[in-house]
Symmetry: C2
Subunit: 417 residues, 2 copies
């Protein structure tokens, strides 16, 4: 008998009908011989409603009280699902974050889980019940209710699966898995049967918003197999796990792209130690996140060019900061461009395959797409291109790395069990 | 420096504007030098909304899950008031029933408080904060959330005042105090400055729905002075307490009436031991509450007549039960009347005044009002009359016992401080 954790998001519990549907899915998993722990988000729209209510009293509500408020959203949904399960004769009991033993730090609105005491959950399981746990919430040392921040229910599910050493953590959502790229841009995109944690991290951070990145980090750290599934369609979904038993490892697993990018370059900075820290420090002091960072070797005049990318919202303020920094550093000039996009190929397979980068650049060059910036890691190569080439670039790379081919079939018949 | 517990009902926190208004009142009480603990109900209509949501999943939702659901109503209002207080620079912290240490039994939906651990509340007070406590809820031995049943927020407030040995428990509501009788029926009705716990119990149980009867019992048991006040108008309200320093004790404090009554009489029951238990047992086995009970002495033929009253909803079923019982008891006949009302005079003063009953019956008789049934206690005399005489009877008694006179003024200038 396997233990699985099933997490259902806000859309999945967005109406009474859907709550009944979720109850049926939970019962089906039990009938397959599994022990089930359920984690729920608030009903779709409920968290926003509560936030608006808090803000209607004060535009910047106290964080502890904000958490007290919004945590009621999940409390309502776990109660409703438990009522639905019990009405079907399935033993169930709803548990708030406190009752489920989810201890966090005291960073209200963005708390981090520090420990889970699984004894209550084990007790409920041993007595044959389905614990229905409020996602997104926990409690701190003072016994105050905390929330993990948006999307935190995924993290709750993975953390409970880790604490209970569950067989699998199933994340039910409104898509049927992780795709090779965005199907709205590349119609040939297809669902992946498997993807590694590292790949998923790169895909998630680059805009494949199926799973919260914190949940993926957590799953990787504690080696919790995570399966992304659709609440509304049957299917095996995508398994996110370390080991990969596929006979033939694909070189590239997916293509990510991000239009929300702006590039800033400081040219002709006299080369001396601490330059990078000076430049990036000015930006990060203002809480601006930097994504790609590129610095070339010094030129013959002993100066360097330093480039980085930020989110477009931060473009103007970052540019101002760099003009001030350039003056202080006696740099030649500051250049900026906010009409760019980032294209990335992601795959653990590329670690052992030479020439992947060359193939990528060649394919883009053949289409006349100029590359502004290149950044590489073990399992990812990202390039900056003009924004207008986003779709063409994504389709070209998707086809170049064989992702358009029909789905591999060694995994597609595997059930979610 | 006095400690006061202030409880605000659903109407008082029914909108964002009203929550701001409550915040001002709490701050005003602190500015008068008091420590304040606040107890809140859910926003008006919210509890009903949550109950409907639970019932939309299953018409008879599991009681534990029902409590998990409806307890979120108070959690929202305590959060909102705390946000409003903090925004005004008043240190405050919301506390759920669990956090406030309110231990109950496990009777979900109608739990009883078994103990209060006031340590957390004292800590917040010592640190200069206003604890804002969710009324109507607590937790049982399993750590499950329980609710005290409708109107339980009054009980929470009184129980906290008892546990903290508060100077006073102030119940803010939409009326400005306890009245001598219903002002809609008797325009001469006036607010009482003081009333005893015993009187309040009789007035509350007879339809003066200002305070929950359980809260009054609790207040009397632990000798907690309770003041009923209006949230929306300034004024001293009505103090409910044991000791009474009034120079001249009024004989009668108030007139209560209840139209929701029906009378059943079994005539000619052979007199033998256990008759009363047999008759009333049949009724109470069906969870029908009996109010007045009257049995006369046996008549010459060794039979007795036995009468009692029930709520009108229960009239038909009670009558059927009595027809069956009458057959078994070989009684002569069963009579019923559901066009009756109960009129009561209430006052601790009548204990030491002979002839109060005589004055009552005389006054009603002078108006041609026939009395069907009489029942007396230490501080109350109730009579059943034809329903059509309800208003006339109430006005007559109100005037007969001097309640129409202008308010006594030895108390009216006393502040709520």
């Amino acid at each position: 008998m396997a233990l699985i954790v099933q997490k259902f998001g806000g859309t999945s519990v967005g109406s009474i009908d859907r709550i009944h549907h979720v109850a049926e899915k939970v019962i089906a998993a039990r009938h397959q011989g599994n022990d089930v722990v359920v984690v729920l988000s608030a009903m779709n729209g409920e968290t926003d409603r509560l936030i608006q209510l808090a803000k209607s009293v004060n535009s910047e509500p106290n964080s502890r009280e904000y958490d007290m408020m919004v945590s009621t959203g999940e409390q309502v949904s776990i109660s409703l699902l438990s009522i639905a399960l019990l009405a079907r004769g399935c033993p169930a009991r709803s548990l708030t974050g406190i009752q489920a033993g989810i201890k966090t730090d005291s960073s209200h609105k963005k708390a981090r889980i520090v420990d889970i005491d699984p004894s209550r959950l084990r007790k409920e399981l041993n007595e044959g019940r389905v614990p229905v746990v409020a996602g997104f919430q926990g409690f701190d040392e003072l016994g105050s209710i905390t929330t993990l921040g948006r999307g935190g229910s995924d993290t709750t599910a993975v953390a409970l699966a880790a604490a209970l050493k569950a067989h699998e953590c199933q994340i039910f959502t409104d898509v049927d898995g992780v795709y090779t790229t965005d199907p709205r841009v590349v119609p040939q995109a297809r669902r992946l049967d498997r993807v590694t944690f590292e790949e998923m991290l790169e895909l998630a951070s680059l805009g494949a918003k199926v799973l919260q990145i914190r949940a993926v980090e957590f799953a990787g750290k504690y080696n919790v197999p995570v399966r992304v599934l659709s609440t509304f369609e049957d299917g095996p979904g995508t398994l996110i796990a370390y080991e990969d038993t596929r006979m033939e490892q694909p070189i590239v697993s997916g293509i990510a792209f991000d239009r929300n990018q702006a590039k800033i370059t400081i040219r002709g900075v006299p080369d001396r130690p601490g330059i990078a820290r000076f430049i990036l420090g000015a930006v990060s002091d203002r809480d601006i996140d930097v994504d790609m960072i590129v610095q070339n070797v010094p030129s013959v005049d002993k100066t360097i060019d330093f480039s980085f990318t930020v989110q477009r919202d931060d473009y103007k303020s970052a540019l101002e900061l760099m003009h001030a920094a350039a003056e202080e550093l006696e740099a030649k000039e500051v250049l900026g461009d906010d009409k760019i996009a980032k294209l990335s190929i992601v795959g653990v397979g590329m670690k052992s395959h030479a020439g992947v980068a060359t193939r990528m650049f060649q394919a883009l060059g053949d289409e006349g797409i100029n590359i502004h910036l290149i950044s590489t890691s073990e399992i990812k190569i990202s390039v900056l291109v003009n924004e207008k080439y986003t779709e063409l670039g994504a389709r070209t790379l998707h086809s170049t790395f064989g992702l358009d081919a029909p789905p591999r079939d060694e995994q597609t018949t595997k059930s979610t069990k």
